[in-house]
Amino acid sequence: MHAGTESLLDQHIVLDHGTGARLSRELVEFVVDVLGDVYTGEMEDSAVLPISVGNIAMTTDSFVVDPPVFGNGDIGKIAICGTVNDLAVVGAQPLYLTLAMILETGLPIGVLHRVLVSVRETAIEAGVKIVAGDTKVVGAGEADGIFLNTTGIGVFHEKPKRMTDVRVGDRIIVSGPIGNHTIHLLSVREGLGFEQRVVSDCAPLNGMIDALRSKVPAEAVRSMRDVTRGGLSAVLHEYSSALDRTLRIEESALPIDHETRMAADMLGIDPINAANEGCLALFVAAEDADSVLEALHSHPYGTRAVVVGEVTDRPGKAVEMLGADGRLREIEELQGAELPRLC
């Protein structure tokens, strides 16, 4: 770390960090120093990037998670993972990300440092570069500490994966436990006592998808989606609507940790509606489900992957769940009761 960077660590963000003058320049140098080799920007108005001919994937997302720093992660990690995962699930290799920050006056620069370190470490794990950035500062009360936006570009080495490629009879696989991210954050916010037992699942999943790609035929996985806001329920409803087919899952198959179920019962939350940050829903050809599971299990982020249901041949935009009691019930799509600021 440079001396200039170190000297900022015990300071706070002030409006002049965003006015384009000397303090702005020092803050930008701080950011660049912390990001290290992950940042490839050249302080031009645009990044000029090599890219292969053909389709690219491009996505953008903003991050307002509250609190910005939690037990096993922070907004920086989420901002990289969210965009990397959005690129990876359509079958792209994530390459380049931008990083835009809105900082509230009074934010401790030590917090910003932690967030940037997470950005750097997560970008290294995901194999992406930060190619451009922006920093804006607003007054106290005009934001809440730190908001981020990341835009990502990826390239395809195979046909893009789309929802409409899913077929009747395809199995639905979930790559890991659901609900943990939501329960962790709510517990940190309110001091509920679950925050040490239930940690966020936030992770870049492109490595797991690469491992899967190397072990099963490309056509085995018809389509993928990262299970974020709205939870597994929202993903299943999206697919059901796109396919006009009823999806059926089994309650007993859902990977839900005991402590997560405890907290969810207490809070009146159904884990199937809870946001995650490191979980995939995969729609897989039935004959390839076992080999996909085996491949997922071989990766640290997929050790608890499990088949939770299938695409039925019945027309209709519906998601139904076979309960542990043997009764079938329809899972309603949330109308807006989702908990805010989980990513």
Binding site: E190, L192, M266
Partner: protein
């Protein structure tokens, strides 16, 4: 030294007087509740009052008509006298669970406590989260059903059901005293994790 500690939650005037329902619920529970605390003191068990202190810069802390209750050093933040006695331990907390960013666990360990009896207000928030947190940290958890209160009775019923299913023994305060007076320890309830 006793291996049992009674933890009370939020027995503070600002919180009790928030509305008539809370006041009435605490008033109704006070005879049995204070008698239980007295009986536990007499038998040499620790009494620890978890005192909620709202921090002025906590944006999540609930305001009553724009006023932040139970601020440090205020009269409304003090433990009400009906539940307090010489020798009781006071421990400040800033969130629902008494363990959250406090040294409660370390203090219980120093005292050699293995069993916590969790009481106070409200059943479905501070009592329930402190019970879960205690369970996760390896304590045997008991909750006297007549020494926990909520503004709404159904919240206490639901919280007791939840704790009974996941992390705590539920019994009346009289039953707990009877077990202790029979010379037995309060037994640990085993919960099977599926």
């Amino acid at each position: 030294m006793s291996k049992i500690a009674v933890l009370t939650n939020d027995l503070q005037a600002d919180l009790i007087n928030k509305n008539q329902e809370r006041f009435d619920a605490v008033e109704a529970a006070t005879p049995a509740f204070s008698a239980f605390l007295h009986a536990m003191r007499e038998r040499g068990h620790h009494i620890i009052h978890l005192q909620l202190i709202n921090l002025p810069d906590d944006p999540i802390a609930e305001r009553y008509d724009g006023v932040l209750p139970v601020q440090k050093g205020t009269e409304g933040a003090a433990i009400v006298p009906a539940f307090l006695a010489d020798g009781d331990i006071l421990l400040e907390k800033n969130k629902d669970s008494g363990f959250y960013e406090t040294d409660l666990h370390e203090r219980l360990q120093d005292l050699g406590v293995e069993t916590v009896v969790i009481t106070g207000m409200q059943s479905q928030i501070c009592v329930q989260t402190t019970a879960a947190d205690a369970f996760f940290r390896g304590y045997s958890v008991w909750v006297p059903s007549d020494c926990v209160v909520s503004a709404r009775e159904q919240d206490t019923v639901r919280a007791l059901e939840w704790m009974d299913g996941y992390c705590a023994n539920i019994a009346s305060s009289v039953e707990i005293i009877e077990i202790l007076d029979s010379g037995k320890d309060l037994p640990r309830k085993e919960f099977l994790v599926p």
